[in-house]
Amino acid sequence: MTDPQDTPPDDDSFLAAEFALGLAEGEDLANARFKLANDRQFAIKVAAWQESFAHLTDDIAPVKPPRRIKKKLLKSLFSKQRLPLLERLWVWKGISFAAFGLLAYLAIPMLRPVPPEVPMPVLAAQLKGQSGPLELLAIVEAGGTEVGLRRIAGTAPEGRVLELWAILPEQAPLSLGVLPQTEVMRIALPAVLAGKLGQVTLAITDEPVGGAPDGSPTGEIRAVGALEEI
């Protein structure tokens, strides 16, 4: 125990500082984690200390890292997606069997009958959020003009709407519109995406009612997934 005079009134600020420094241990650490997730005032205190302590790096001179690190990094993050289709099956390992069933169920009635002599490849994406429960499956024919979506879980936060975006490499996200609240949705694809569907990443953000005001996303990303040929 410490003397009463050693215990200043604002324990929270001290815990926030201890947490930001990485000094909090055991019960204190558990307590800090809980407060961080649930107590906005505490989260603000932690952020303020982090902002302050980051200045301890002000006089650390930048050091150019060797070029090979960037190569290694990009390879470790992205090379998987450059593999040929058959080797890309790992992508689907993450999708549960049930989701696969849904996908098949979704694919058959939603796509227009295709003449058998010209089978069109089909692209699909599983859109998932890292933090929230929102999950959708998206499916589109190569050369198709609309994307079909099926909601598996999650809804828009209260008072917000979900907006769908298509992202091509090196381009700003393109709004595909606000999602209706139905389980199955068909969203028209703009002509600029024609022939590039294999490079498209779909993302869903939450936006104010009516959609993002100036055509670029303003809200948090709720789900994201890249279209892949199946």
Binding site: A17, H55, S76
Partner: protein
């Protein structure tokens, strides 16, 4: 580095824009590598820590906006925490430090609150210089060298509880100084 530019890049990385990630890497990797090197000293370890840092940035950029940190603070804190986790990993029973945007966090400060926090934060170095040298050195030791209470108590040759009280007084004095 322009704050808005970095913020914009992080927002695009959150949408899985690889080109933006590429540019972000070019803009901030030297600073982050400097931080990793300062914490870890060894080049090979710093290289690994930096690679981990950027993987975390790619995977968690969508959480950046909610924590109210300035973009460079967010990036530096990820690099620093990743390096310190690596440094401490050899010790048994080590728990990873949380990284902003990687842990569950209640919504952070509003832009106004963040601006106040930012201007106060700038006073850290001046205020740290006003502290008793040992206390300032303990704060730096914890932040830049990942020293735990046990490490600090040993270094300053005081009991653990004394170290805690001591640092608490230092941090309170620091906060008071920064808010003036």
């Amino acid at each position: 580095m322009d704050r808005r530019e970095i913020e914009n890049l992080i927002a695009r990385v959150a949408l899985k824009d690889r080109a933006a990630f590429d540019v972000l890497y070019d803009q901030v990797s030297a600073k982050l590598f400097g931080v990793c090197l300062r914490v870890l000293s060894k080049r090979a370890a710093a290289e690994d820590a930096m690679q981990d840092t950027f993987v975390k940035i790619w995977n968690n950029a969508d959480r950046y906006q909610s924590n109210g940190l300035s973009p460079m603070t967010w990036l530096i804190t990820i690099a620093r925490n990743t390096s310190i986790d690596r440094l401490r990993a050899r010790k048994s029973g080590h728990q990873d430090i949380d990284t902003p945007g990687l842990e569950l966090s209640a919504p952070g400060p509003s832009p106004e609150q963040a601006a106040v926090a930012g201007s106060e934060a700038k006073r850290l170095i001046g205020c740290l210089d006003g502290l008793e040298p040992d206390r300032a050195s303990a704060v730096r030791g914890a932040y830049l060298d990942g020293q735990s209470y046990a490490d600090l108590a040993e270094r300053f040759n005081v009991p653990l509880n004394t170290m805690r009280t001591w640092l608490r007084r230092g941090l309170l004095a620091l906060r008071e100084c920064m808010s003036q």
